[in-house]
Each structure stands twice: as C-alpha cells, then as structure tokens.
C-alpha cells in the first residue's frame, strides 16, 4: 500500500525507480476506467486547489491537466504568463512566494528554463508537477508514452523504441529515455547529428543515423516535433530536406513492411517529421496517447496529493 510513494513533487523520470513508474502506470490504468463512466468524476481531490502555471503557451497539455484535475473534483486556476526575458527570474521567485502565501495545494508548471520545476519545488510547500521545463524533462508525457506502449505490447521490457528527431532540444526525448530504460526497453535515437547530443550514448541509447534503419530496428517510433527555429538556428538546412531524409512517410513504412507502432507527442508538423497518412493511419497510436494523457495526469495528481509535503523526492521504492 503506497509502497513506492512519490514524495512531494514530480520533477522528472530520471529520479524515479522502476517500482514508482509502475505504480503510476497501474494507477493510471484505473483512472482510464473513470473516464469511461457516465459521470467522469470522482471526489478524490475534492477541496484541493490546483494552479496551472503555464509560462509557455500550450493548449493541449494544459487542457489535459485541466480535465485530469476536474475529473478528480479539484478546483483549478489557470495562470498563463509570458514573462519577458528580463523579468523572467524575478517572476518565478515572486510567483513562488505568492503561491505559497495563498496556500495552494498543487502547482502544475510549464516554463522555458530547464530546472524551473525543481526551482519552484524547493521553494514552496505545495506539490509541484513538472509539465515541461525547458529542455530538461516532461515527465507526464514520458509516462503516457510508456502507458501507451504497455497497452499495445503488454509490456515494456525488451521493447525496441526509437526516438526520432530533434533530441538535442527535446524534454520529451529525455523523459522517454529515462522511463523506457528503467522499465527495461532498448532505446535508440535517430536524427541529424546536429540535433543529437554528442554524448547521448552515455545514457545507454544507441544512435541510428538513418530513419530507414530505425524503422527496421524498432518495435515503435516516437516521432518528435521539429521546430521551425531549428532551421533558422542553422541546425538543419530546411524543413523540406528534413522531411525527405528523416520524415516518417507512408513509403518508408510500406518498404519496411512491418507492424511498427508510431507515436508522436504532438502537436504535429504534418509533412515535416511525419506525413498525414501515417499520423492518421493504422500504425498510429497518437490518439490513444491523448486519452492516456488524462489518465496519467490523474494518477500523478492523485498519488502526489496524499504525500506528506515535507517529504523530498527520492529515487528508491521500498
């Protein structure tokens, strides 16, 4: 019962143990059933106040969290703030203190600076859930990806998962790598070398230079969104070339002729990293990912909310 309790905050998957990961996934499985009920609501977090603090614009993640919160009967408040680069630092420290003063129970934060979730978690007693901090981690995305794979394959252990695209700038990639490795999957990254961290192999992942090879090797692909800034930042010459060389296209999948699962954290750049007929096709689990997202977030909020606020997040289960 609560043997692998999570502690005060969910900052990332790097510091969670396999037992803790499994606890979250098993709990999320239960919450999927709640979303099928006629009344999609349970009183588990009734009376709790949760603030969604989104410094970076994000409709889908915020809405997913909001559904999760409301289905747990919590009261939610949305704060969207685009801090200017000059006042960013003050904004976060002052925000932390204001939230503390208002006795908020939980904060879900998305922020452009790596480390910002941990920064907040150390300064307020409320539970903090990282909804994406800079390039560091996006733990609930990592968890819903794990749940989706587990639903599809029955297990994670021994699965071969290739993460494709701009791994260098991707918090989704990092969370995926941690979660998959801890549950025993084999992980590879595939993308242009200019978008892969030089020392990524030190995290225990294989580097596959070309997408066709990745498709041949993998049981599942997690296709990352390629941002326009990568082109203007000189990392790749053009989006068109990226699609030609690295795009997950119908032709490539047909050529490989295998039953491979395609994931994408969204939002998609159709025609860049992934073609529409793949995204909407039979291999895609992109919509189940979204469903699982709400369940995973409900599980995380439920598991954290019972925790003693003085606990620190530790790695091991009991």
């Amino acid at each position: 019962m609560g043997a692998a309790a999570l502690g005060k905050d969910l900052i990332g998957l790097e510091t969670l143990s396999p037992q803790q990961l499994r606890l979250i996934l098993d709990t999320a499985e239960r919450f999927k059933e709640v979303s099928e009920r006629p009344i999609k609501k349970v009183p588990a977090l009734r009376g709790k106040t949760i603030v969604n603090l989104f410094f970076e614009a994000s409709t889908r993640t915020r809405i997913s969290f909001e559904f999760a919160e409301k289905r747990l009967s919590a009261d939610t408040v949305n704060v969207a703030s685009s801090g200017s680069s000059v006042s960013k630092g003050e904004t976060l420290v002052d925000t932390a203190r204001n939230l503390e003063a208002m006795r908020i129970d939980m904060v879900v934060i998305r922020h452009q600076a790596s480390g910002s979730a941990e920064f907040l978690g150390r300064r307020i007693r409320s539970n903090v859930v990282n909804a994406g901090d800079g390039k560091h981690e996006h733990p609930t995305q990592g968890l819903l990806d794990l749940l989706t794979l587990r639903d599809r394959f029955g297990k994670i252990e021994g699965l071969k998962v290739a993460i494709c695209g701009d791994v260098l700038h991707s918090r989704v990639a990092r969370s995926n790598i941690w979660g998959l490795k801890k549950l025993g999957a084999e992980v590879a990254v595939c993308g242009p070398a200019s978008l892969l961290p030089r020392d990524i192999a030190a995290l225990g992942v294989e580097v596959i230079p070309r997408i066709d090879e990745a498709i041949r090797w993998a049981d599942a692909l997690n296709v990352l969104r390629l941002q326009l800034e990568r082109m203007t930042g000189g990392f790749i010459p053009s989006l068109r070339e990226y699609n030609r060389v690295f795009g997950v296209t119908r032709e490539r999948l047909d050529r490989a002729g295998k039953d491979i699962v395609i994931m994408h954290p969204g939002p998609m750049n159709r025609g860049v990293e992934i073609d529409s007929d793949v995204a909407d096709g039979p291999h895609s689990v992109i919509l189940p990912q979204v469903t699982n997202g709400v369940a995973v977030r409900m599980a995380v909020l439920y598991l954290l909310a019972g925790g003693n606020p003085d606990w620190q997040q530790h790695g091991g289960g009991e």
Partner: protein, 430 residues
C-alpha cells in the same frame, strides 16, 4: 610613517630567490629592510611572532572584478581590497568591465584613488582593449597606461575580431604591456550555460564546448607569434588549451596563462541540481580537464593562479540556471583551495605554489612585489598552511556571497597581510 615591523621565527619562503628556511624579516619605511637570523629591530618596533607560520611575499591576483564604478551594490574597490587582504593578497589587478568601463584615464584614476583611500591591498587597474569593450576601436593604451593601468583586456567579453587582437598585440608592444584575453568563440558558446557534456545533456541545458575556448587560444597564440606581442590567456579551463599553451611555450613564444581555483577544484558535476553557484564562464569542465590544469600548473605551462573574483547579488543568483549570471567569489578562498587541492595531495610543493601566486604574477604583469629581496616593497603575507577552517560566506569581507564553497573544510589561510609596511589584515583582530 608606520613603525617598523619585525616578523620573527617564521618559515620564510622567497620563491623569487628560491630560499626556504626559518628566519626573521624586518620591514621599515615601507620596504624590506633585512631578512636573516636573529634580527634586532629598532626600539618600539612591532614584533610579530611567526613561529609555525609561513612568511612570504604577498599574494598577487592578476584577475579580479571589483565592480566599481557602476555596480557598487555587489562590491566596491574598498570591500574588494579588504577581501583581498583577508585572502593574503597584497595586490590585485582590476578588470575593466565596469560601468563606465575603464577605457579612459578618468575611470582609471578613479579606481586608483578609491584604492588609495581604502588603504588595503594594492589595486592595479586593467584598461580596456577596445573603446567601451565593444570590440571595434582600440582604446588609447598610452593614456590608460599613463594613468596607471598595467595591462589591457576586454575581459567579460572575448575579442571576436582577429584583426583587432592583432593590432592590439602590436600596439601594446610599444608600451611593453600585456594583452589579456578572455578566450571564447561566441558563435559556438552563445546561449550556453555550462560545459557541453553529459551533465548538460541530463539537465537539459545548452552546453559550451571546450572548442569555444581552444579556438581562441590557438588564434591568440598564432597572433602572438605573428606580432611578437605578449598575450596573457585568462582563466584557462580545458586540457586542450593546456596542451596548446605547452607547445607555444616550447616554441619560446610570449604566451602566459592563468587558471582559477575553481577550475582546478570543481567539475561540471557541481552544476547538478541546477546550482547557480557553479555557473561561470568559462564553465567548470570534466575530471580530465581538472587533472590537466593541475599538471599544467605544476610544470609551468600555466604561469599563475588568478581568481577571476566575480561578485554577484543573492537575488541575481537566486533564479533559473539559464538566467543566472556567471561567476563566483575567489579572493577569500583561493589560498585555502590551493593548499587543499594542490599542496596537500602532493601535486605542488608549497614554495612552488607561492611562486605561482606571488612571484610569477608580478613577473607576468611587470608589477613590484613577489619577492622578499631587500629594498623591495614591504608587501608580505604571513600564512598558516596548517590551519583547518570552514568557509563561512556570511563572514566574508566581500559585499557578495556567491560561492559554492560555503561549509567546505579547507586547509591553509592568511593570518596577517602587510602592504607597504602596514598591517592591512590581521586575523586575530577579525
């Protein structure tokens, strides 16, 4: 005139003359009057018992940021000079990235007069290479040096234009003054917050590759060869840089270099947990780099230890890693870190360390001091290399507190610092 001082019975180490033995040192009229056994001082002279301590020429730091003019809430010339004295330093060289920058004689003169008023460690201003440190037009070296500057640097920023660096080296030759460079290739380093490596990858922070420093180190060495000018390479941080410098010295080029205590002590692992007190430029690097820098200090490839003392406000460091400013304090922990990390493990002997912290800095920038030769300035430090102490930032003389070493146990500290024959720091009275 202050009364003469007789420092009795200490282990007197003069790295300049390679002497090391128990002796007395007698200071009078601001000069070293005599060094020897059983000196009898004048009646009424101040006698200091240095038994069990080390008596040495005062330490000299070629690279500090005193923040005045412009950022007096972080540090002033006075508080910096006091912090220096508490660290055993009798002289520091102040970098010009102030506001306004030290690119004119008025600003240089201001720093000098503030230092004189403070009456603690000597402060030698460094003038800018370019006007406003903008990297476009040469500043008036003649005017700056005439006003009291002892070197030129655009530190804080690199000199991106190789043409400007070349002309600076050539023009500086006229005055025999060193050009100190902050080696950083901005297009590679831009936006980076720490060393490009596995820790940065895990923390999701943009990294600064070692290449960003080494490219400019190589360039500066080549330009020094081309021009015959004296290039001084600031805060070296990589094993690649050490290797380049070694080869340059083998060729007899006029290249000197410095390393900070944090670069021979800490690695990028110190950034774990997004610790902003481990954020500096150049960043903390890998184990192999730390080892190479220690080796380089030992074999003289790197000439001196210089702290790059960089005060920052608590609020400034109390923010997300990406947004936090670079740099940490150094003056009050330098000797302790050097003894703990270099002397105690047997990497460098104490006299050689003192050479790197006193004699050689004086030589590199052509400053008085760094020696206990009779007739030289009475800038002396009485150090206790056996003292164990805990770093308490709240007790620093510096106005700021940004150090990652709070709570750390160190071996070695200054007991007494004397400048121009006057005691400017006495730990007993602290």
């Amino acid at each position: 005139m202050t009364r003469p001082i007789l420092i009795r019975g200490g282990r007197v180490i003069d790295p300049a003359r390679r002497t090391d033995g128990i002796a007395d040192v007698y200071l009078a009229e601001g000069r070293i009057a005599s060094v020897g056994l059983n000196i009898t001082g004048e009646d009424g002279c101040e006698v200091i018992d240095a038994k069990g301590k080390v008596v040495t020429p005062g330490l000299i730091d070629l690279h500090v940021h005193l923040r005045e003019p412009g950022f007096e809430d972080l540090e002033t010339v006075a508080t910096g000079a006091m912090a220096a004295a508490a660290g055993g330093f009798t002289a520091v060289c102040a970098m010009p990235n102030t506001d306004p920058p030290l690119d004119n004689q008025g600003a240089i003169g201001f720093v000098i007069s503030q230092a004189q008023k403070a009456g603690k460690a000597r402060v030698y201003p460094i003038g800018t290479i370019s006007v406003g440190q903008k990297g476009e037009k040469l500043s008036e070296f003649g005017e700056l040096l005439g006003a009291g500057a002892i070197a030129v640097s655009d530190d804080g920023k690199p000199v991106m234009s190789s043409h400007l660096m070349r002309t600076a080296l050539e023009y500086a030759k006229t005055f025999g003054c060193p050009v100190a460079d902050h080696c950083e290739e901005i297009t590679l380093a831009e936006g980076g917050a720490m060393h490009e490596g596995i820790v940065a990858t895990r923390l999701g922070l943009k990294g600064i590759p070692a290449a960003a420093e080494e490219i400019h180190v190589a360039r500066d060495i080549i330009l020094s060869e081309l021009t015959g000018g004296h290039i001084h390479l600031c805060h070296m941080s990589t094993r690649g840089s050490a290797e380049l410098i070694r080869r340059a010295k083998d060729k007899g080029l006029r290249v000197t270099a410095e390393v900070t205590p944090h670069h021979f002590t800490l690695t990028h692992a110190a950034c774990e947990g997004y610790n902003t007190n481990a954020k500096m430029n150049p960043p903390l690097r890998e184990e192999a780099d730390v080892e190479a820098l220690r080796e380089a200090l030992k074999d003289g490839t790197i000439d001196v230890i210089a702290t790059d003392h960089a005060p920052h406000h608590y609020d400034a460091k109390e923010r997300e890693f990406d947004d936090a400013p670079n740099g940490i304090l150094g003056l009050e922990t330098a000797f302790g870190l050097a003894v703990t990390e270099l002397v105690r493990p047997g990497i460098i002997a104490l006299p050689d360390l003192l050479y790197r912290m006193s004699t050689r800095p004086a030589q590199v920038f052509g400053l008085p001091g760094g020696t206990l030769a009779v007739g030289g300035p009475a800038d002396v430090a009485v150090l206790d290399p056996e003292a164990e102490w805990t770093v308490e930032p709240s007790r620093f003389f510096s106005k700021s507190r940004n150090t990652p070493f709070g709570g750390r146990r160190l071996l070695g500290r200054a007991d007494l610092t004397i400048v121009r024959g006057r005691i400017v720091y006495d730990r007993a009275g602290d």
